[in-house]
C-alpha cells in the first residue's frame, strides 16, 4: 500500500505525534495494564487515522462493528514500523510482529472497547484462526441419538440348560415299528360259526405271552419327574329347598280344664310337694326383693321430675296471685257473703250468696230482696245471673248430676230450689271464645225486676220452697247433695240409686236436727200435690220453670235425724256436717248401660215424673258409710249414724251419737273431708283446727295450737293432699303444708282483704290453672291463682301424707295408752306413799336419840381430857377417879 499522507493525516499526525508520545506512553502503560485484563494473544492498540488510512482500516469505514476483522500484511507492518519508527502505532508490537510466523496479522476493530482500545491485534496465529474461524457451535445431536432402535435379539449363549432339556425330552430313538395284520382274502365273507369254549378246559389252547425278564438288555427304569394337576370338575347344578320349617300348630277355642277331682288328685301327688318345696324359697326371695327396694327405679329421672323443669321462665311466684276481683255495687252493699260455689261445669263462673249483715230484721213487712249472684271471669263488675231468694241464703249447692239445679237453705229454715236451665246460655255465653251478642239476645227474653237500661241481668225466681211447717226452725247452715251412687229410704237405709242422679239432699240447722229431703214426687203426697198445683200456678206471675212444681210449698223431708246428747239430756246444735261419698266399685251391667246411654247427652230427668221408689224394690247397699261428722255450735265434733233405729217402743228413733269430742271452743265453721283420703276430715273451730281419721275414736290425730286470730273458714287443696288453706278474721289467708311444717303455716298472706274472710273455695279449671275463690265480709269476691308450687304435688306426696297420718294416729294411741299407764302408776305410787308415811315418824325419833347420846358422851370425854390437861379436873361425884 503506498503510504499516503493526507492533510488530515498530517494534522492528526502532528497532533497525534504529540499525542502519540503520550499515547505511546499510555500504550505502554496500557500494555502493562492491559496485560491484566485481556488475554495474551490480544493486544489492544490505538491506530491513528493516518495509520488507519495507511492500512485501509479506518474506523467505521473499512472496518465496522459487523466486520471488524482486517488482515494486515506482516511486511507492511514492518515497513511502517521502519518508516515511522517510534511514531508508528505498531512500534510496541514490533518484536511480536517480527516473530510472527505467518504473513498476515489480524487486526480487530474493537468498537466496544472491550479490551480498552479501539483496535486490537491478535498476536498468535492460532488465536487468529480461532477468531476468524470460530468453531461451529455444537449442534445438539439429539435427534440422532434418540432414534429408538428395536432391540436386536442377542444371540443366545447356552449355559448348560440345554443339556438338561435334551435329557428330559422325549425323543424317539428309533423309528416306530409298524405291524399290519390282515386276514387272508379268501376268508372274507365266510360264514362264521361260534361255539362256546371254556378256557379252563383246555390249558394249551391259549397261548400265554407272559412277561419275562430278558437278560440281553435291561431297561433301567428311570425316575422321571412328572407334573400332575388335579383339576376339579366343575358342574353347574341347581337344587331347591323348602323355606319354612314345618311346624305343628293347633288352635284351641276353649281352654282345657281339669275337673275338681282331678285337681284334688294332682294336689295329693308327691312330686307336687317336692315342687313346692323346691320352688318356694326362690319365690319368697323374689317377693322379698321386691319389697326391699325397687331396682328399676330411675333416681336421675325422679330427681328431675321433682324439680319440675320446663315452666320456670323467670317469674316464679310463690304466693297466691290475684287473678280477678268481683264486686257489684248495686247488690253487695251492706251485705256479706256467706257461701260461695264454683259452677261445676262452666269455666269461670262463681255463685255467691249474699246475706244481710245486720242480724235483726228491721221491718218484717219490707221484704228485702236477697240474691245469689253469678259472676263470670269475663265480666268482673256485673253479675250475669241473679237468683231470687225468699230470704237470705246461708248455704247453697249445685246438684252434682245436674248443674242447673241449685238448692239453698234459707235463714228462716226453708229449703229453696232453683232451675237455671233456661239461663245457662247467659253464663255460657260469657265463656272465652263465644260471642257476646248471642248472650244478650237470650237474656232479653226474661223479665227483670230492675229495669236497668244499660244492662239487664236476668233474675231467676226459685221454683220451689219447702213447706214452712216442716222445715227447720232455725237457719239452715249447711246443705249437701247425696252423691249419685246411692240414695236413702225413709228409714235412712242406703239403697241403690237406679238412675244415677242426685235427687236427695241433706240439710242441717242449729235447731238440733238434720233433715233428708228428696226432690222427687213422693207417692202419698201426689194427690195433694196435684190438687195444690193449679193454685200455685195462679199465684206465680213470673215465668218460672215447672221442674219442681210438685214440691212447691208442700215439700217435706224424707226423715229427720235428731242429735241427742250422749251424756246429758238435750241436743247438739249442728252447724256443719260431712258425709262420706260412696263409690260403688262393682259396676254392674245396669249401671254401665245407663252411663252409656246418658253419656253423650245428659238425660235430665223430669223430676215431676220421677217418684220416690218403695224401699222394698231397691237393693240395700251394705257397705255405705252412713255416719256423719258434725260440727256444732259449742265446738263439739260429733260422729253419728243417720240410720233410724227402732227403740223400745217400736218407733223409729235416731240413735245416740257414737262419739262426741269437745275440741274447739266456739263455733265450728268447717267440717270437710280430704279429697284424697276418704277417712281424713278437717274440722275448724274458732282458734284451732283438727284433723280426724274416721275409725279412730279417741280423738283427733292432729290438733293444732290455738292461733291468735279467729279462724273463720278452711278448705283442703284439690290437688295436693298435704296442703290446705285457712281464712282468718283479719282478712289473711294461711297456707298450711303438713309435710313441711305442722305447727305453723307455710305461707301467710296477710291483708288479702280488710274484712273478715267468710269463704274459701278452691277450683281446678285446668291442669295449669288452679283458682282459689275468697270471699269476705264486705261482699267482695277475690279469685286467686294458686302458684305451681302449691298445686303440683311433690313426689309421692299422697303416700307421705298417708304415712304421716298413720304416724299421728299411732302417736295418739300411744299417748292415750301411756296416759292410762301413768294413771295406774300414779295410783300405785299414791297408795305406796300413804302406807309408808305411817311408819316413818316412830323410827326417826328413836334413831335421833341414840345419835344425841353418843355425841354427848364424846363431849364429856373431851371435857375430861382437857380439864385434866389443865389440872383443873374435878372429878364429878358420881364418876370414878383414874
Amino acid at each position: 500500500m503506498p503510504p499516503r499522507k493526507p492533510k488530515s493525516g498530517k494534522s492528526s499526525a502532528g497532533s497525534k505525534g504529540k499525542g502519540k508520545k503520550i499515547q505511546t506512553q499510555m500504550e505502554k502503560q496500557d500494555l502493562e495494564l492491559s496485560n491484566q485484563d485481556h488475554p495474551e494473544y490480544i493486544f489492544p492498540m490505538v491506530l491513528t487515522s493516518a495509520t488507519q488510512e495507511l492500512f485501509d482500516c479506518q474506523a467505521d469505514e473499512d472496518v465496522t462493528g459487523e466486520s471488524p476483522y482486517k488482515l494486515l500484511e506482516k511486511d507492511d507492518i514492518i515497513q511502517d514500523i521502519k518508516t515511522r519508527a517510534a511514531v508508528s502505532d505498531f512500534s510496541p508490537v514490533k518484536q511480536i510482529v517480527l516473530d510472527y510466523p505467518e504473513d498476515e496479522l489480524l487486526l480487530v476493530y474493537d468498537r466496544d472497547f472491550t479490551y480498552g482500545q479501539s483496535f486490537y491485534l491478535v498476536l498468535t496465529p492460532e488465536a487468529k484462526d480461532r477468531i476468524l474461524n470460530p468453531p461451529k457451535p455444537e449442534i445438539p445431536e439429539v435427534f440422532e441419538n434418540e432414534v429408538v432402535k428395536t432391540p436386536e435379539p442377542k444371540p443366545w449363549i447356552p449355559l448348560g440348560s440345554d443339556k438338561e432339556i435334551d435329557e428330559e425330552a422325549f425323543k424317539e430313538s428309533r423309528k416306530k415299528l409298524l405291524y399290519k395284520f390282515s386276514r387272508v382274502r379268501k376268508k372274507f365273507g365266510v360264514p362264521v360259526c361260534f361255539s362256546d369254549r371254556n378256557t379252563a378246559d383246555a390249558k394249551d389252547d391259549y397261548l400265554e405271552c407272559a412277561s419275562y425278564r430278558d437278560s440281553r438288555f435291561s431297561i433301567k427304569q428311570l425316575q422321571r419327574d412328572c407334573g400332575i394337576q388335579a383339576v376339579p370338575r366343575l358342574q353347574s347344578s341347581s337344587a331347591q329347598t323348602q323355606w319354612k320349617f314345618q311346624k305343628n300348630i293347633f288352635t284351641q277355642y276353649t281352654p282345657r280344664e281339669l275337673s275338681v277331682e282331678e285337681k284334688e288328685n294332682i294336689l295329693h301327688l308327691e312330686n307336687l310337694k317336692n315342687f313346692c318345696n323346691s320352688v318356694t324359697p326362690r319365690v319368697l326371695q323374689a317377693l322379698q326383693q321386691e319389697g326391699i327396694m325397687n331396682v328399676f327405679f330411675d333416681d336421675w329421672k325422679a330427681l328431675g321430675s321433682a324439680a319440675e323443669d320446663g315452666d320456670w321462665a323467670g317469674k316464679v311466684s310463690e304466693g297466691l296471685m290475684l287473678h280477678q276481683a268481683f264486686t257489684d255495687q248495686k247488690y253487695t252493699k251492706d251485705k256479706k257473703i256467706c257461701s260461695i260455689n264454683w259452677h261445676p261445669t262452666i269455666y269461670g263462673v262463681i255463685a255467691v250468696a249474699l246475706t244481710d249483715k245486720k242480724k235483726e230484721q228491721l221491718n218484717e213487712s219490707v221484704v228485702r230482696a236477697s240474691f245469689i249472684l253469678f259472676y263470670t271471669f269475663a265480666d268482673p263488675s256485673n253479675p250475669q245471673l241473679l237468683l231470687e231468694c225468699p230470704d237470705d241464703i246461708f248455704a247453697f249447692e249445685f246438684c252434682p248430676s245436674d248443674p242447673n239445679i241449685i238448692v239453698g237453705g234459707c235463714v228462716n229454715g226453708q229449703v229453696v230450689l232453683w232451675d237455671i236451665s233456661a239461663h245457662v246460655t247467659c253464663l255460657q255465653g260469657t265463656q272465652p271464645g263465644k260471642k257476646v251478642s248471642v248472650n244478650t239476645d237470650v237474656c232479653d227474653f226474661n223479665q227483670d225486676l230492675d229495669d236497668s237500661k244499660e244492662h239487664k241481668t236476668p233474675i231467676v225466681r226459685y221454683c220451689a220452697v219447702s213447706a214452712l211447717e216442716s222445715s227447720h226452725k232455725a237457719p239452715i247452715t249447711d246443705v249437701q247433695w247425696l252423691p249419685t251412687t246411692f240414695e236413702v229410704t225413709r228409714t235412712g237405709l242406703p239403697v241403690e240409686n237406679m238412675y244415677n242422679i242426685s235427687s236427695q239432699l241433706v240439710t242441717c240447722s242449729p235447731d238440733c236436727t238434720i233433715m233428708f229431703w228428696d226432690v222427687r214426687v213422693s207417692k202419698p203426697m201426689s194427690h195433694s200435690a196435684s190438687e195444690m198445683r193449679p193454685n200455685t200456678d195462679q199465684k206465680t206471675p213470673y215465668s218460672t220453670p215447672d221442674t219442681f212444681k210438685h214440691l212447691d210449698r208442700t215439700w217435706k223431708p224424707l226423715f229427720k235425724v235428731f242429735l241427742p246428747k250422749i251424756d246429758t239430756s238435750g241436743e247438739y246444735a249442728p252447724l256443719k256436717f260431712n258425709l262420706e261419698h260412696y263409690n260403688c266399685n262393682d259396676n254392674t251391667g245396669r249401671n254401665t248401660e245407663a252411663n252409656e246411654n246418658g253419656d253423650s247427652s245428659k238425660v235430665i230427668p223430669d223430676y215431676s215424673q220421677l217418684s220416690v221408689p218403695l224401699a222394698q224394690t231397691l237393693n240395700a247397699l251394705e257397705d255405705v258409710n252412713t255416719k256423719l261428722y258434725i260440727g256444732t255450735e259449742d265446738g263439739e265434733i260429733i260422729y253419728t249414724d243417720w240410720k233410724l233405729g227402732k227403740d223400745d217402743s217400736g218407733r223409729m228413733q235416731s240413735a245416740k251419737p257414737l262419739h262426741c269430742f269437745s275440741i274447739h271452743h266456739w263455733l265450728v265453721n268447717t267440717v270437710q273431708r280430704s279429697p284424697f283420703f276418704k277417712d281424713i276430715i278437717l274440722t275448724m273451730g274458732s282458734w284451732n283446727f283438727a284433723i280426724w281419721k274416721e275409725g279412730v275414736m279417741d280423738g283427733p290425730i292432729i290438733l293444732s295450737a290455738s292461733s291468735e286470730q279467729v279462724c273463720t273458714v278452711g278448705c283442703w287443696s284439690l290437688s295436693r293432699p298435704a296442703v290446705f288453706f285457712i281464712g282468718k278474721e283479719d282478712g289473711s289467708i294461711e297456707v298450711w303444708n303438713l309435710l313441711v311444717k305442722t305447727s305453723e303455716p307455710v305461707q301467710v298472706h296477710s291483708n288479702v282483704t280488710n274484712a273478715k274472710i267468710t269463704c274459701i273455695k278452691p277450683w281446678t279449671a285446668s291442669s295449669k290453672q288452679h283458682f282459689l275463690a275468697v270471699t269476705d265480709d264486705i261482699g267482695m269476691v277475690r279469685v286467686f291463682e294458686i302458684p305451681k308450687t302449691l298445686y303440683v304435688p311433690s313426689r309421692s306426696e299422697s303416700l307421705n301424707v298417708k304415712k304421716y297420718f298413720e304416724l299421728e294416729e299411732d302417736r295418739l294411741k300411744d299417748f292415750l295408752r301411756r296416759e292410762e299407764l301413768w294413771e295406774i302408776q300414779k295410783k300405785k305410787a299414791e297408795d305406796l306413799k300413804k302406807r309408808t308415811e305411817l311408819d316413818k315418824p316412830v323410827n326417826s325419833l328413836v334413831e335421833n336419840e341414840e345419835v344425841n347420846m353418843k355425841e354427848y358422851n364424846d363431849y364429856l370425854m373431851l371435857e375430861e381430857s382437857v380439864l385434866k390437861g389443865m389440872g383443873l379436873w374435878q372429878a364429878p361425884a358420881y364418876t370414878q377417879d383414874t
Binding site: E257, L267, N271, C276, L287
Partner: protein, 101 residues
C-alpha cells in the same frame, strides 16, 4: 298321708299368698292347665296359657346357649305389677305381685 301332703302344699302356697303385695298365685301343671288359683277364672286361664309358652321359650333359649344350664326363675316386670314364674320339672308356679311403692 295324702291329707298331710295336701296340707303341706296348702300351707306353702298360703305362705306365698300372704306375702306383702301379692295379688294372685296360679299353680299350673305340665300341660298348662291351672290346678290351683286365687284369681278369677278368665285371668287364670290367660296367664297359664301365655306364661307357659313364654317359659318354655325362655328355657329353650337358655339351654340352647348352654346345654348344661337350665332356667330357674323368670321375672317379668310390668308397669303395673311384677310377674314371677318359677318352673320346675313338671309344674309352674306363677305369682303376681304389686311393687312396693
Amino acid at each position: 298321708m295324702a291329707g298331710t301332703k295336701r296340707e303341706e302344699v296348702e300351707e306353702t302356697l298360703k305362705r306365698i299368698e300372704a306375702h306383702k303385695g301379692v295379688i294372685g298365685t296360679i299353680l299350673v301343671n305340665a300341660e298348662g292347665i291351672p290346678i290351683r288359683t286365687t284369681s278369677d277364672h278368665h285371668t287364670t286361664v290367660q296367664y297359664a296359657r301365655l306364661l307357659r309358652s313364654l317359659t318354655m321359650m325362655a328355657r329353650s333359649t337358655v339351654r340352647d346357649i348352654d346345654p348344661q344350664n337350665d332356667l330357674t326363675f323368670l321375672r317379668i316386670r310390668t308397669k303395673k305389677h311384677e310377674i314371677l314364674v318359677a318352673p320346675e320339672n313338671d309344674y309352674l308356679l306363677i305369682v303376681i305381685q304389686n311393687p312396693c311403692e
